[in-house]
Amino acid sequence: MPESKRIEIQVLRYRPEQEDVPVWQSYYVPFTDDMSVLQGLQHIKDDIDGTLSFRWSCRMAICGSCGMMVNGIPKLSCQTFLRDLLPGPVRVEALSHFPIERDLVVSVEPFVKKLESVKPYIIPKKPRSLDQGEYLQTPEQLEQFEQFSSCINCMLCYAACPQFGLTPDFIGPGVLALAHRYNADSRDGGQAERMEIMSTEEGVWDCSAVGYCSEVCPKHVDPANAVNQNKVNSAKDYFLRFLSPKGASK
């Protein structure tokens, strides 16, 4: 076995029972070329300091649990490799713009509440029985929502969104992308319900098109596009109600 390489990992620690403000702590971790940042943290927890807290689950960029700031950039730590960060030190911090619960663990309740509020599931236009068979969609209808359905709720886009940091009530890129994923689905009839939330100030209109959300998304969802398409939809709703009597009432 070759001589083991070492890299310094600096972690922003916050233990509410111990510290009033977060502090940086350094660890020296032996690593191999195939080791991710997450594996580095797991080494720290298993062999150096068992008090370190962080979330993780699948280790293959699909569960969305292990998002954190790596050298200041929102990343899935399982998908970010130590070999690409040589010679170090690697600075690891809880996802930006979220309150820190402990170490690398952030508060997610407001995000989950927002996600629930937009009803992220298909609301059929009218009930459909099994004997009516499956829904059919053209490739173009599929393309309208397919990329947005890749969201894994990792919240990296929130850590990339200064508008969310400045206005924590902003529904934010990820949830708006998922709302759009259903609005844009030809099988869905729930757009009017979702637009009530999406058309508010805290909905699409808090977005100022920074666009970094789409850059950091590990699943190429392009939330900025979903949000901005719905500025168009929201504006259409607003102006068309003057033309259509149906649009003015619920």
Binding site: Q18, P22, E101, E215
Partner: protein
């Protein structure tokens, strides 16, 4: 036992100086700032129209003011700002539009951006040629 153990005290980090944290945010702020350059140039042109309505002397005064070193410097700054404006806004444009389909295929974001840049270039060259020809 520590009296604070088990008590939740979520820590909220400050947003102060957020736009200096990432080159992407600085580019975003630069893009937004160029909107002021557009506003300033709109005022310069509006003043020109106003002076034109006030008669020949006023109009010639405005033209002379445009030739002053301060004005030339301002115009150079505005020109650079307009270039950044055109470049950065067309970069973000594909994200702000509904999906476009041509012949059943989605138009790539890079195609939309490049079309915007080419249109800007063509219109700019045409305007330049037109004023050049007019001056002669």
């Amino acid at each position: 036992m520590n009296a604070r153990a088990g008590v939740r005290r979520p820590y909220v980090r400050s947003m102060q100086g957020w736009w200096r944290r990432d080159p992407f945010f600085m580019a975003y702020m630069a893009r937004e700032m160029t909107a002021f350059a557009v506003a300033i140039y709109a005022v310069v042109l509006a003043v020109g129209v106003m002076r034109l309505a006030q008669g020949e002397a006023a109009w010639n005064g405005w033209l002379a003011a445009l030739r002053s070193p301060g004005s030339i410097l301002l115009h150079l700054v505005l020109l650079v700002s307009f270039a950044v404006h055109a470049k950065s806004w067309f970069e973000i444009m594909p994200k702000t539009m509904p999906m476009m389909f041509v012949g059943g295929r989605r138009v790539e974001a890079s195609t939309i951006t490049r079309t915007g840049w080419i249109a800007t270039l063509v219109v700019s060259v045409l305007m330049f040629a037109l004023t050049w020809w007019w001056k002669k």
